[in-house]
């Protein structure tokens, strides 16, 4: 009987492991399908040339410090875009020339009336979702958001089980001897 229960527990654990693996692979496939779908719809929606950014004629981008509201918005957007030539740095924090040019582009697009989402989308079209420091909560990215929660719950459950086991009242050896004696005399 004990062997059967142990076997069932083992099987359950393997099933959980398999489920985790299936979820991981499933999320990966979904993310690929979404990427392909979004690429197709974006490509269909955009005529050649629409993917390029050209500043509208006569646009004047205020220098840093002139328009504090624009500076704040530009800094907020730039803080969420990854510097392509650095390691884990935003274009806002990076001193690289390319980052500086990208910051200028962000300011220009904001002045031209583009929304934050449109600016992110522009950069995603060029560099993929890699450019976003905070990945979108979709596809395989969901693992980033949900795995910590899963581990928190699993860890708490594990600690609870162990603590419960430790604090379970132990039968004394005298009591055990009595049980053995009783069974022998029967």
């Amino acid at each position: 009987m004990r062997t059967t229960i142990a076997g069932l527990r083992g099987a359950a654990l393997v099933a959980v492991g398999g489920l985790c693996l299936a979820l991981t692979l499933g999320a990966y496939r979904v993310s690929h399908a979404q990427a392909a779908g979004s690429a197709a719809s974006a490509a269909a929606a955009l005529d050649t040339g629409a993917t390029s950014w050209t500043a509208p004629q006569g646009i004047v981008v205020p220098a840093l410090g002139v328009d504090t509201l624009l500076d704040k918005r530009a800094a907020a957007v730039s803080s969420r875009l990854r510097c392509p030539v650095c390691q884990g740095e935003s274009i806002q924090d990076s001193p690289a020339e390319l980052s500086s040019q990208m910051r200028t582009l962000v300011r220009e697009q904001l002045v031209a009336g583009r929304t934050d989402a449109q600016i992110y989308e522009y950069f995603v079209q060029k560099y993929g979702q890699w450019i976003l420091l905070e990945p979108k909560a979709e596809g395989i990215n969901l693992l980033v958001y949900w795995l910590p929660v899963f581990f928190l719950v699993a860890g708490a459950a594990g600690i609870w089980i162990v603590v419960k086991k430790w604090t379970r009242p132990q039968l004394s050896s005298q009591h055990n001897a009595e049980i053995v004696n009783d069974s022998l005399t029967e």
Partner: protein, 206 residues
């Protein structure tokens, strides 16, 4: 200790992670997957600062190259800089292939990335010339439009104006020749369907 149980627990928890880490090992953390191949190439209007040596590719300094005017032609766009060591490795290969395919209507352009035009002109002279024209890219606008993160990077654009391939790092002549041959021999699809059907929209009716 129940070793069997311990084994199953470790396997159940460890296996998905080992699988995930193994998958991670197949990826280069420094490479940035480009979404451009298979999609319309970002257009550009850029001025020529070095004319190019091949008579079929030569342009006048100051001329403007418009990608939009190249529909129906295969175009190779190479991003380079005089400070880029790897660009030296590919320079001869690119120039050779450019001359080889000039008569077949393939256009080659070199876009200078974050560099001074004088440095670029001097570099071309030091390297013994360049078959195709070099264009300036002020503010790296075209480079950003193409999702550039280093040089050299080379984009091959097909007759429909769609990015057919992206090379990261130095280009080799044989690889580029094979690609251009395959693009030239492939039957171009009509201009009203510029995007490959290899990217279906989920749920869309065919």
């Amino acid at each position: 200790m129940n070793w069997k149980r311990a084994f199953y627990t470790t396997a159940a928890i460890g296996a998905p992670f080992i699988a995930l880490l193994a998958f991670g090992m197949t990826r280069d953390p420094r490479s940035i997957p480009s979404p451009l191949p298979g999609r319309p190439a970002p257009v550009f209007d850029r001025a020529v600062f070095a004319p190019g040596a091949d008579s079929l590719l030569r342009l006048t300094v100051g001329d403007t190259v418009r990608l939009a005017a190249h529909r129906g032609q295969v175009v190779v766009v190479n991003f380079w800089a005089s400070w880029c060591l790897a660009c030296r490795d590919e320079h001869l290969d690119l120039s050779q292939v450019a001359s080889q395919f000039a008569g077949k209507g393939v256009k080659f352009y070199g876009l200078l990335y974050n560099d001074q035009e004088e440095n670029g002109t001097r570099w071309i002279a030091d390297m013994g010339g360049q078959a195709y024209p070099a264009l300036s890219d002020p503010g790296a606008r075209t480079a950003i439009d193409y999702g550039l993160y280093g040089v050299p990077e080379t984009f091959v654009i097909d007759q429909r104006g769609v990015v057919a391939h992206k090379y990261i790092g130095p280009v080799r002549a044989d690889s580029m020749s094979r690609l251009l041959d395959s693009l030239l021999t492939a039957t171009p699809t009509p201009a009203d369907t510029p995007v490959r059907r290899a990217l279906p929209t989920p749920g869309a009716t065919p």
